[in-house]
């Protein structure tokens, strides 16, 4: 019964999205505008109902629903039956549309400062996107499809996804991805109406910053999940699926900075609109890459050409349509503001160029192999060395700029800021040069990276100190707190990456019970391997004693066999603090009782995710700035 109701809710939502689009585009009639708002809110109610109904199917073990049968098992713990809602293709599309209708709902509620005409247009654009995705679900990926004959037992959720990181990673990621649809809708509305002033920017900024913050959190959580669940200790693989979320992030980051220029200096208007379109286009492209099955990747669980063709068609329609509109109307948005290189807006322009170049390089590396393959020109892959070789030289000057740009005044900078930045710069040089002394050998790359990182952090701190001296803590607006926190996060992230790439050590070892191995100053002893069993798996669990200068702890990595899917999973064990991670993963048994083990020592690994977390918090704080709630 729940499945039929859920299916019905989706159909009704599709019909209502049509109402939302038509009434939203109807001009000059306030009743129609009100209807668009009501439709948007009803839409959200229906999507929420569909989502809950799918959850009920999982809770009740309703294996007559094909999606439930494919992704749960009577032994699957309740929490993972709930997260199975978005564990595979159909359900994650449902989550996508739920997020979209949630953002639409938010726009329909928090809009008292907006002219009704604008609200209606924004809701109409969001309605078009919702309708497209609902149609996609109903035609090719209905999570409520029944399965006959009804299987007695389900196939269980992919064991990779049975992990706490997976509970929250997809919702946050989608929240960010989909959130760029709001900035997109505002951009389209600006093109349609020709209205793009400081007021428009003040409406658009908080939505964009919020979406960006969630995307940041989603990517950070994804990296953390990959680190301890994919088993082998990598935290970023430049996998196409990761790139799919990273490209909208890069363009989104450019967008939140260009929005600042547009608000303060009334410049870069057309560019800002273009970025808003691109950020959302890349979100759609990411959905296409992940959901069409074109990628060979751990994430691409679904593969079905019909789906791919539908999303590709929809992608072409949305991106092609909005870029055509841009080409036709952008000239109206041109502004003749003069720009100085040495000014905040000048430096932010550089920020935009670096970010866009980086996004293009990632796009090239991600799409080129697919394109070659599609045209039968050969099969190639582009590995992490390419991305690292391109990315590091682009990111380093960008990080250097951050400290200057945040301190530089708008319009025209002066030498005065150099004097102000003298002490952060001196601190960064000394601390950065000193840090590698604490590690096994002196690395100049590590010193340079650490200098950049300390520079970014100390410049961000200096900004807050400066403002506190000038007017006291309460005078500092939330947007400045948010920006400084996010930039500080970038610094921590840079520090983490630098130290972990320069000083991480890893080794594969074959150990007999009782034998030891050395790595990074730690001694690892394999004490024993025992058999244990969990709710839906059985496992070999090793006890590895780790010792360093009389401090010791025990790590218990597991090798799990999930019987219902007949798949083996490596469950790594990690001991961590801010300064280092010690990581052990269990390999395979040998005939003579030996086991292979992978050992890692990763200094400052946590800072990478802590940085991402601070950027997320910074984004949220900036979103809550009072300025956005004033009407002028």
């Amino acid at each position: 019964m729940s499945a039929e109701l859920g299916h019905f809710a989706l159909i009704l939502a599709l019909a209502i999205s049509a109402v939302q689009v038509l009434s939203g585009l109807w001009r000059g009639n306030s009743k129609m505008t009100a209807l668009a708002t009501t439709a948007a809110q009803a839409q959200f109610g229906l999507m929420l109902a569909a989502f809950v109904l799918l959850g009920i199917c999982f809770v009740q073990y309703d294996f007559s629903v094909a999606y439930v049968a494919a992704n749960s098992h009577t032994d699957t713990p309740l929490i993972y039956r709930m997260t199975a809602i978005w564990g595979a293709h159909e359900g994650s599309m449902l989550l996508w549309v739920l997020m979209l209708s949630g953002w639409t709902f938010a726009v329909s509620v928090f809009n008292r400062r907006l002219p009704p005409e604008m609200v209606a247009q924004v809701l109409a654009v969001l309605g078009v996107v919702t309708a497209g995705f609902l149609l996609f679900m109903l035609l090719t990926s209905n999570p409520f499809d029944r399965l006959f004959p009804v299987p007695a037992e389900g196939r269980d959720l992919n064991p990779l996804l049975q992990d706490p990181g997976m509970i929250i990673h997809p919702p946050m990621l989608y929240m960010g991805y989909v959130g760029f649809s709001v900035a997109f809708a505002f951009a389209i509305a600006a093109l349609l109406s020709g209205r793009l002033d400081a007021q428009w920017v003040r409406w658009t900024r908080p939505w964009t910053t919020a979406a960006w913050a969630f995307l940041t959190l989603g990517i950070t959580l994804g990296s953390w999940w990959a680190y301890h669940e994919l088993g082998w200790g990598g935290w970023w693989f430049w996998d196409p699926v990761e790139n799919a979320s990273f490209m909208p992030w890069l363009v989104g980051t450019a967008l939140i900075h260009s929005l600042a220029v547009t608000e303060k200096r009334d410049a870069l208007k057309a560019w800002t609109v273009l970025l808003a379109i691109l950020a959302f286009a890349l979100s759609l492209l990411g959905t296409f890459l992940v959901r069409s099955g074109v990628l060979v990747s751990v994430h691409a669980f679904a593969s079905d050409p019909e789906r791919g063709v539908f999303i590709l068609g929809f992608l072409a329609l949305v991106i092609g349509g909005s870029l055509s509109l841009f080409a036709w109307r952008a000239s109206r948005l041109m502004s003749a503001t003069e720009m100085q290189l040495v000014s905040r807006e000048g430096l932010l322009l550089f920020n935009n160029v670096f970010l866009l170049v980086a996004a293009s390089a990632v796009l090239l590396g991600t799409l080129y192999p697919l394109a070659l393959d599609a045209f039968n020109l050969g099969k190639i892959s582009v590995g992490p060395p390419y991305f690292n070789a391109v990315f590091v030289p682009l990111a380093a000057p960008l990080t250097l700029l951050v400290g200057f740009a945040a301190a530089m005044p708008w319009k025209r900078g002066s030498g005065e800021i150099l004097r102000r930045l003298r002490s952060p710069a001196a601190f960064a040089l000394v601390a950065g040069a000193a840090l590698p002394l604490f590690y096994s050998h002196y690395s100049f790359a590590a010193a340079l990276g650490a200098m950049l990182a300390f520079w970014t952090m100390s410049a961000a701190t200096q900004e807050i100190i400066q403002r506190t001296r000038a007017g006291g803590l309460p005078s500092i607006p939330r947007s400045l707190w948010g920006m400084s926190l996010a930039h500080f996060g970038l610094g921590l992230f840079t520090l983490g990456i630098t130290i972990v790439s320069c000083y991480a050590a890893e080794r594969d070892e074959r150990l007999a019970p009782g034998a030891s191995a050395q790595l990074g100053g730690y001694e690892f002893t394999l004490q024993k391997v025992e058999s244990v069993s969990g709710p839906n798996y059985s496992a070999d669990r090793a006890h590895v004693a780790v010792e360093r200068s009389s401090r010791s702890f025990t790590l218990r990595p597991e090798k799990r066999l999930y019987a219902s899917q007949n798949s083996v999973m490596t469950e790594a064990a990690v001991d961590h603090n801010l300064l280092r991670d010690v990581y052990v993963a269990l390999g395979e048994p040998f005939d003579n009782g030996d086991w292979s083990l992978r050992l890692y020592y990763r200094p400052m690994m946590r800072l990478v995710w802590l940085g991402g977390l601070l950027a997320f918090l910074g984004g949220l704080i900036a979103t809550a700035d009072r300025r956005y709630r004033k009407s002028t």
Binding site: V298, V353, V357, S360, Y368, I380, S381, D508, K559, M569
Partner: protein
């Protein structure tokens, strides 16, 4: 004006950097038959895909392993030192990154296997000309579990 000049210069440098890195880091994908059919320069880093021949896996000292990678017509010895992925099994499809030695042994630096016992790398499924599964000798029949 200076700004525009700097920007153009920077963009040109970025483009050059990107394309050089791109060309240096492309990896071709081959099957064992491809490697026999064409001359691949030794030391070129590449990916190969194929099925692990049954009963070919030999373990050496420490973590050294050797096995035969095959497609329907050709095979190739592969050497690797390290931990094999969870789903590495004989008779199953894998992808390996590495390079060929002069005496045509593939030295793998990385081995990838998918979390599905029926998995065949798509590139390989194409070259085997079978839809989704692998049915050619010597891999028939593929027993489950």
């Amino acid at each position: 004006m200076l700004g525009v000049g700097l920007l153009v210069l920077g963009l040109a440098a970025a483009a050059a950097l990107t394309l050089t890195a791109f060309r240096k880091n492309l990896m071709n994908f081959y099957t064992p038959s491809d490697l026999v059919a064409r001359q691949v320069p030794p030391q070129e880093t590449m990916r190969i895909g194929g099925l692990v021949l049954r009963d070919s896996l030999k373990r050496g000292d420490g973590l050294r392993v050797e096995f035969t990678l095959a497609d329907c017509t050709q095979s190739l010895p592969v050497r690797y030192e390290g931990i094999l992925p969870d789903l590495f099994r004989e008779g199953q499809g894998i992808v390996a990154t590495g390079s060929l030695t002069a005496d045509r042994v593939f030295i793998a630096s990385e081995i990838l296997a998918k979390h599905d016992e029926n998995y065949v790398p798509p590139q390989l499924a194409d070259s085997l000309k079978t839809a989704g599964g692998h049915s050619c000798e010597p891999f028939k029949p593929v027993t489950k579990g």
